[in-house]
């Protein structure tokens, strides 16, 4: 079995110290795997991502990179690359694509101009190298952010809502590029996103988050009921692969206030809990 590149153990977090945004969330991610994090607004997806990348500290729980516990004081930023939302970019500075790629040179001094061009080529944005980032479309900006994140050849790529604001063709293009990188370099990928169908299609594992409610397991074990419970609404067009669920799993709602990821495996039925009355 491939080794774990990222593991979260019983992560809890609250912004005000009273209302929990995350409670005992655990998951792990192996080399070449992808984890999609789904959930409604305010469910704690971005908070979890910010904890993983060290921008927020959890109230309790630990993060492990390559089985090494992340130390808050010397956070192992070299173990991953993070792609924030393109809307977080400061639009006041007139930064060109080439200049933005050059910022990475401040940290990774050995990177050559040729390697940077190759990365821009990989994400299909080389022809916009001398354009201002502010003049690019949302999808192009996201690809520039992705290219910059690939400068240090990361083993783990973390993306915060990469498809936000993109049309379906833009989403397909971006996720195909991520898929290509994943397959080529065996990069583990964690994606926080709202696009349920795209995430289900592209990720091996799914973590559904809605504050106390969370479900984490293989994509094939995800049911429409689970998603409807997470989002508190009904879905009509979900591309969930539900084969074999009839024989091995209950279709009951899954409700819990703890994480029980990995209780179910492909060999034994997943132990869904019944909805509390």
């Amino acid at each position: 079995m491939s080794k774990s590149v990222l593991r979260a153990e019983k992560i809890s977090f609250s912004y005000d110290g009273i209302t929990p945004t995350l409670k005992d969330v655990s998951f792990d991610l192996h080399e070449g795997e992808s984890l999609g994090v789904l959930g409604p607004n305010g469910g704690g997806k971005t908070t979890l991502m910010k904890i993983v990348v060290g921008l927020l500290s959890p109230q309790s729980g630990s993060i492990f990179f390559d089985e090494q516990k992340a130390d808050k004081r010397h956070y192992p930023y070299h173990s991953f690359s993070y792609v924030p939302q393109h809307s977080e970019l400061n639009s006041i500075l007139p930064v060109k694509v080439s200049e933005y790629m050059g910022f990475a040179k401040a940290i990774y001094k050995n990177i050559t101009e040729k390697e940077m061009d190759e990365l821009l080529e990989l994400v299909g944005i080389l022809h916009k190298k001398e354009s201002l980032i502010s003049s690019l479309s949302g999808g192009e900006k996201q690809r520039v952010l992705l290219a910059r994140a690939l400068v240090n050849h990361p083993k783990l790529l973390l993306l915060d809502e990469p498809t936000k604001g993109l049309d379906s063709s833009g989403q397909d293009q971006l996720l195909s590029i991520i898929e290509k990188i994943k397959q080529r370099d065996k990069t583990a990928v964690m994606i926080v996103d709202h696009n349920i169908n795209q995430i289900i299609r592209h990720c091996h594992k799914i973590l559904c988050l809605n504050r106390n409610f969370h479900w984490h397991d293989h994509t094939d074990l995800l049911t429409k009921n689970i998603l409807e419970d997470v989002y508190h609404c009904e879905f009509e067009h979900l591309l969930i692969h539900e084969k074999d669920l009839q024989s091995s799993h209950s279709h009951d709602h899954h409700f819990c206030d703890h994480d029980h990821a990995h209780q179910g495996t492909s060999n034994e039925p997943h132990s869904f809990l019944r909805r509390k009355k």
Binding site: H78, E88, N90, L93, V95, E99, I107
Partner: protein, 283 residues
């Protein structure tokens, strides 16, 4: 025009005016270098808070020393301003609450305290006015050395890690998660700002120094087509119009801080107006 050339001749003829000219050159270059960062990092209000909190330092310094003891006044004002700046920097680093509310509360409080201390303990109550609005006639050789020293310290601290400053300003989360120490740069930026403001008090005054800190960067970011150009344009704009400002101030016997502020503002407004006309003619 003649009076303007006479003013230029005065600056070369009299030592104290030459100090003022060279001091203005050094300070305006430093302001031009840091100005785009102030605008892009959305720290305009923070700069205003630091410049107003110098009043507390000045009031304490003028209570302890006479206005002629310029180095003692500078050191005391700087020490107190840096303490205030560190407090502001700590309470505004990646906070959820809007930092402008904290800054607004803080700077009015320090300013009020400064006025009370000045009215109770100042050795000469009229001195404060010169520091509020600037007076180039107060500039001494020591002030010139301080201004030059500040440029020598500030320029490498901005230019050597230039890409790190830009990365942090443009994509803060990307920069932090790439390993750039955002907290260190946050504090460094505000300490440089405090140093610059305290050193510029005699030239432009605690109230009008904001013009030198904001207008060049605003102009440069409005007209530049890439980020490197923005910093070069900002330094040139700041230097040219600051020097023009003190030449006009001397020629017509006007207060230096106010003249600087008006010259920089007029240059900005005129450029924006010309840009509008150019855009209109091209469309």
């Amino acid at each position: 025009m003649m009076i303007f050339f006479q003013s230029l001749k005065d600056f070369l003829q009299y030592d104290f005016l030459l100090y003022a000219l060279l001091g203005t050159l050094a300070l305006s270059m430093t302001c031009g270098l840091i100005s785009p960062l102030i605008i892009a990092r959305k720290n305009a209000f923070m700069g205003s808070a630091i410049s107003h909190s110098t009043l507390l330092g000045l009031a304490i310094a003028l209570s302890l020393f006479s206005a002629e003891q310029s180095l003692s006044i500078f050191a005391t004002t700087l020490a107190i301003t840096i303490v205030c700046t560190l407090f502001l920097a700590t309470s505004t680093f990646r906070q959820k609450l809007p930092s402008d509310s904290m800054i607004g509360i803080f700077y009015t409080a320090t300013m009020a305290l400064g006025i009370i201390i000045h009215s109770l303990f100042a050795k000469n109550k009229t001195d404060l006015l010169s520091f509020l609005f600037g007076n180039i006639l107060l500039l001494t050789k020591e002030d010139l050395l301080l201004s030059a020293g500040l440029l020598i310290v500030t320029a490498p601290l901005i230019i050597i890690p230039f890409k790190k400053w830009l990365f942090l300003t443009y994509d803060e989360e990307g920069a932090i998660t790439s390993g750039i120490k955002a907290r260190l740069y946050h504090y460094l930026f505000f300490i440089l700002l405090a140093l610059l403001i305290v050193t510029s008090i005699k030239l432009a005054g605690t109230i009008l120094i904001e013009t030198l800190l904001l207008v060049p960067g605003f102009f440069a970011l409005k007209f530049s087509t890439n980020v490197r150009q923005a910093f070069i344009v900002s330094v040139i704009f700041s230097t040219v119009f600051a020097v023009l400002g003190i030449l006009i101030a001397n020629a017509y016997g006007l207060p230096s801080g106010a003249t600087l502020a008006v010259v920089l503002f007029l240059a900005l407004v005129l450029s924006l107006f010309l840009k509008k006309i150019y855009t209109f003619l091209r469309s």
